[in-house]
C-alpha cells in the first residue's frame, strides 16, 4: 500500500464518502476541473461528475448558505473555502444559521454540512492566506471545529465529520498538507470526534497542541528527551466541543501543562484549555501553566511569518517554563 499525505487523506475520505453515500456533494471555488487550488478534490469531478462535484461562483457566504439550504433538505454538502482568510464572509451563515438550525426548529431541520478550510501560516502565501481563526468558530455554540494533524487523522476525522448529523468546520493545516506520508487504508473507518488523541505518552509534562503545531511540538519533545524530560503530547483534534477528560487526566498525572498554538495568544483555545485545567485540576499542578503561541499581532506577510509562528525553540522554552518550580 502506498503511503499518502495529509491532503491525500482528505481526498481519499471525500471519495470514499461520495462512493458510499450519494447525498454527499462537494462544492466550492475551483474544486471541479481544477481539483482545488491545493488539489484536495483532485479527480473527484472526473469520477463523480459535475453534479456531485460543483464549481461555484466566487462568493463564500453563498457557498456556506447554499450548503445550509442543501443540508436542511437532506443532502450532505462538503464545501471548500479556498483559504481561511476568505472564510469571514461565510461566518454569518455558519453562526446565524448552520449552528442554530437544529435549535431554532427544535430538531425539525438539521444541518449536516462540512466546511473545509485550509488554514495557518508557513507556506509563503500572499496576504490573507495564513490566519489561524479556529477560536472564533470554537466560541460559537452549535458547531464542531475539527483539525487533523496527520494523514490518518485527516482521513478518519473527515469521514466522521461528513457523517456527523451536525455542522463541522474542518480546518486543514496547510503547512503540513504534504509534510508526512503515512499508510492509510481506505477502509471507511471513521475516527471518533470530540476526543483528544495522545500522540506520545510521557511523565513529566503534558503538552497540548493541534494542527501543524503538533510537528514543532514533537520535535521539541525529542530535544527535551535528550535531557531526560518526558513529554506527554496530546493532539486536541476536535477543538470544540473540547474533550476535557483526556487533558485533565494527563495533567493530574504529570502535574504540569504547556499549551502550544499557532493562533494569537489572547482569548484563544489555549486560554480555554488553561481555564478548564485551572478550574478542575489546579491542585494537581505543581507549576504554573505555560502557553506558547503566536503574537497578538496581525499575521505578518511571509518574510516575517516564521518569526511569528512558534518555532521548535520557542516550544522547547515554553515546555521548560512549565517545568520550572
Amino acid at each position: 500500500m502506498a503511503a499518502i499525505t495529509l491532503i491525500e487523506g482528505v481526498t481519499r475520505a471525500l471519495a470514499h464518502e461520495m462512493e458510499r453515500d450519494e447525498r454527499v456533494i462537494v462544492l466550492g471555488e475551483d474544486v471541479g476541473v481544477n481539483g482545488g487550488v491545493f488539489r484536495a478534490t483532485a479527480g473527484l469531478q472526473q469520477r463523480f461528475g459535475d453534479q456531485r462535484v460543483q464549481d461555484t461562483p466566487l462568493a463564500e457566504a453563498m457557498i456556506a448558505g447554499l450548503s445550509v439550504g442543501m443540508a436542511a433538505q437532506g443532502m450532505r454538502p462538503v464545501a471548500e473555502i479556498q483559504f481561511e482568510g476568505f472564510v469571514y464572509p461565510a461566518v454569518d451563515q455558519i453562526v446565524n444559521h448552520a449552528a442554530r438550525l437544529r435549535t431554532r426548529t427544535r430538531g425539525r431541520l438539521t444541518c449536516p454540512m462540512v466546511l473545509r478550510v485550509p488554514y495557518g501560516g508557513g507556506i509563503h502565501a500572499p496576504e490573507h492566506h495564513s490566519d489561524s481563526p479556529e477560536a472564533m468558530f470554537a466560541h460559537m455554540p452549535g458547531i464542531r471545529v475539527v483539525i487533523p494533524s496527520s494523514p490518518a487523522r485527516a482521513y478518519g476525522l473527515l469521514l466522521a465529520a461528513i457523517r456527523s448529523p451536525d455542522p463541522v468546520v474542518f480546518f486543514e493545516p496547510k503547512r503540513i498538507y504534504r509534510l508526512q506520508k503515512q499508510e492509510v487504508p481506505d477502509d471507511g473507518e471513521a475516527l471518533p470526534l470530540d476526543v483528544c488523541y495522545t500522540l506520545r505518552e510521557g511523565e513529566d509534562v503534558t503538552v497540548v497542541t493541534w494542527g501543524a503545531m503538533t510537528w514543532e511540538t514533537l520535535k521539541a519533545a525529542d530535544q527535551l528527551a535528550d535531557d531526560g524530560i518526558s513529554c506527554e503530547i496530546i493532539d486536541v483534534a476536535t477543538i470544540s466541543p473540547l474533550d476535557h477528560e483526556t487533558i485533565l487526566e494527563s495533567v493530574e498525572r504529570t502535574g504540569r501543562l504547556c499549551i502550544v498554538q499557532e493562533a494569537p495568544r489572547s482569548f484563544g483555545v489555549a486560554s480555554e484549555i488553561a481555564a478548564v485545567v485551572a478550574e478542575q485540576a489546579l491542585y494537581s499542578l505543581r507549576t504554573p501553566i505555560s502557553r506558547v503561541t503566536g503574537y497578538d499581532t496581525i499575521m505578518p506577510l511571509f518574510r516575517l511569518e516564521t518569526e511569528y509562528m512558534p518555532s521548535v525553540q520557542r516550544v522547547v522554552d515554553g515546555i521548560r517554563a512549565a517545568l520550572e518550580e
Binding site: Q51, A59, G65, L66, S67, M70, M75, R104, D166, D243
Partner: protein
C-alpha cells in the same frame, strides 16, 4: 458604440384599486371559490395581525412584526406553491406561512420568545423565520439545488423585503441560481420602507425587479396589493422553474401600513398623508370590491367570516397562552444530536437553578 445588452421590466396588475379588472383575469380567478378562499385567508391574517399587536400592547407577546397591508402578496405566494415546495420566509409573511400549514399558535409562540414556534408541525420542510436580512435567499437556492440534484419536481421560494435587496446574500443567491438554473423563485416584497429608510435611499434602481438582469434571470414587477397578480405570476414562475427552466425574481409592490415592528414608531419618519394614500389602495378592500361587484360577497358574509376568523384567532391565542414554558433543558437538547460531555454539567446546572436550587 453599439448597444450589446438591453432590458425592460414589465409590470402586471389584474385588479385596480377599485376592484375593477384592468386585464383579462387568469383561469384560477374565474373560479369564485378560489378567489373567496384567498379572501378568507387575507381576512384571517388581518384579524390575526390585529390581535397579535393587541397581545404585544398588553404585555402578552414580545416584539411583533406586523403584516398589515402585505396580505395579498403573502397569500398570493402561498396559494401558488405546492405543499412539497419549500418556503424560506423572512419574518412577517404570515399569509404565506399559514397557507402552507404553519399554525397561528406557532407564530405567536415564536414572537412570544419560544423556539417551539418554528417547529412548524404542518410545514415540515419549510425554513423557519429568518431575521438576518436576505440570508434566507441562499437557503432557498441551496434547497433548490438539493431538489435539482435528486431530480425532484420541487421548487424553493424565498421572500425578502426591499431593504434585503441591498444585501450581498440577495445578489449571491440570484447569481448562483442563474448560473446553475436552480428551481427557485425569489420574491421581493417592496413595501417602500426598510424600518425608517425609504426606497430611494436604499437604491438608485428604477425597479427592484431589474436586479434580476445582472444575474441573467427574468425579473418582473407585479402589483403586490392584487392577490390575483401575485398568485398568477408566482404560478408561472414556479411552473417554469419546475420544468427546469431556471429561477426568476418577482417584485411585489405594496406598502407597509404598520410600524416596522411593535418596537418602532413610523410617525417619526414618514408622513401621515403617505400612509393614508396607501391605505386607500390596500389589498383586502380591492378584492372585496371585486367580489361584491360579481355578486359573490355581501355584508352578511363579511360579518360571518369576521366572526369565524375572530373565533379561530382566539383559539390560537388560547393555545399559545396555555402553552407552558419549555423545560430549561431544551436550551441544551437541540444544540447537537447528542449532547457533548462538557455540556452535561452545564445542563444540570441550568436545571438546578431552574428549580430555584441553592447549593
Amino acid at each position: 458604440m453599439e448597444t450589446i445588452a438591453d432590458f425592460e421590466i414589465q409590470y402586471s396588475q389584474f385588479l385596480d384599486p377599485d376592484g375593477r379588472p384592468s386585464d383579462t383575469l387568469p383561469d384560477f380567478a374565474q373560479d369564485s371559490e378560489q378567489l373567496i378562499e384567498m379572501y378568507r385567508q387575507m381576512t384571517l391574517v388581518r384579524i390575526f395581525d390585529g390581535k397579535a399587536i393587541n397581545l404585544q400592547r398588553t404585555g402578552k407577546l414580545g416584539t411583533y412584526a406586523s403584516s398589515l397591508g402585505h396580505e395579498a402578496s403573502h397569500v398570493g405566494i402561498g396559494a401558488a406553491m405546492r405543499p412539497e415546495d419549500c418556503l424560506a420566509p423572512s419574518y412577517r409573511e404570515y399569509g404565506a406561512m399559514l397557507w402552507r400549514g404553519v399554525k397561528m399558535s406557532e407564530i405567536l409562540l415564536y414572537w412570544g420568545g419560544d423556539e417551539r414556534g418554528s417547529r412548524f408541525e404542518h410545514a415540515p420542510h419549510d425554513f423557519p423565520f429568518c431575521v438576518p436580512i436576505a440570508t434566507q435567499c441562499l437557503h432557498a437556492a441551496g434547497a433548490a439545488m438539493a431538489y435539482q440534484l435528486r431530480g425532484e419536481p420541487r421548487c424553493a421560494v424565498s421572500i425578502n423585503g426591499d431593504g434585503g435587496t441591498s444585501e450581498g446574500a440577495f445578489y449571491e443567491a440570484l447569481n448562483v441560481a442563474g448560473a446553475k438554473k436552480l428551481p427557485v423563485v425569489f420574491v421581493v416584497i417592496n413595501n417602500k420602507w426598510a424600518i425608517s429608510v425609504p426606497l430611494e435611499l436604499q437604491t438608485a434602481s428604477r425597479t427592484l425587479a431589474q436586479k434580476a438582469v445582472a444575474a441573467g434571470i427574468p425579473g418582473l414587477q407585479v402589483d403586490g396589493n392584487d392577490v390575483i397578480a401575485v398568485r398568477h405570476w408566482m404560478e408561472r414562475a414556479l411552473e417554469r422553474a419546475r420544468r427546469g427552466e431556471g429561477p426568476a425574481l418577482i417584485e411585489a409592490i405594496t406598502y407597509r401600513l404598520s410600524d416596522h415592528t411593535t418596537a418602532d414608531d413610523a410617525s417619526r419618519y414618514r408622513k401621515k398623508e403617505e400612509v393614508e394614500a396607501a391605505r386607500a389602495i390596500e389589498p383586502l378592500l380591492r378584492l372585496r370590491r371585486y367580489l361584491v361587484e360579481q355578486g359573490l360577497w355581501d355584508d352578511a358574509r363579511e360579518e360571518a367570516l369576521r366572526a369565524e376568523c375572530v373565533e379561530r384567532v382566539d383559539a390560537a391565542v388560547e393555545s399559545y397562552i396555555n402553552t407552558p414554558r419549555a423545560p430549561v433543558t431544551d436550551m441544551f437538547d437541540y444544540l447537537f444530536e447528542k449532547l457533548p460531555d462538557h455540556l452535561v454539567a452545564q445542563r444540570e446546572m441550568a436545571q438546578h437553578y431552574d428549580r430555584g436550587g441553592r447549593h
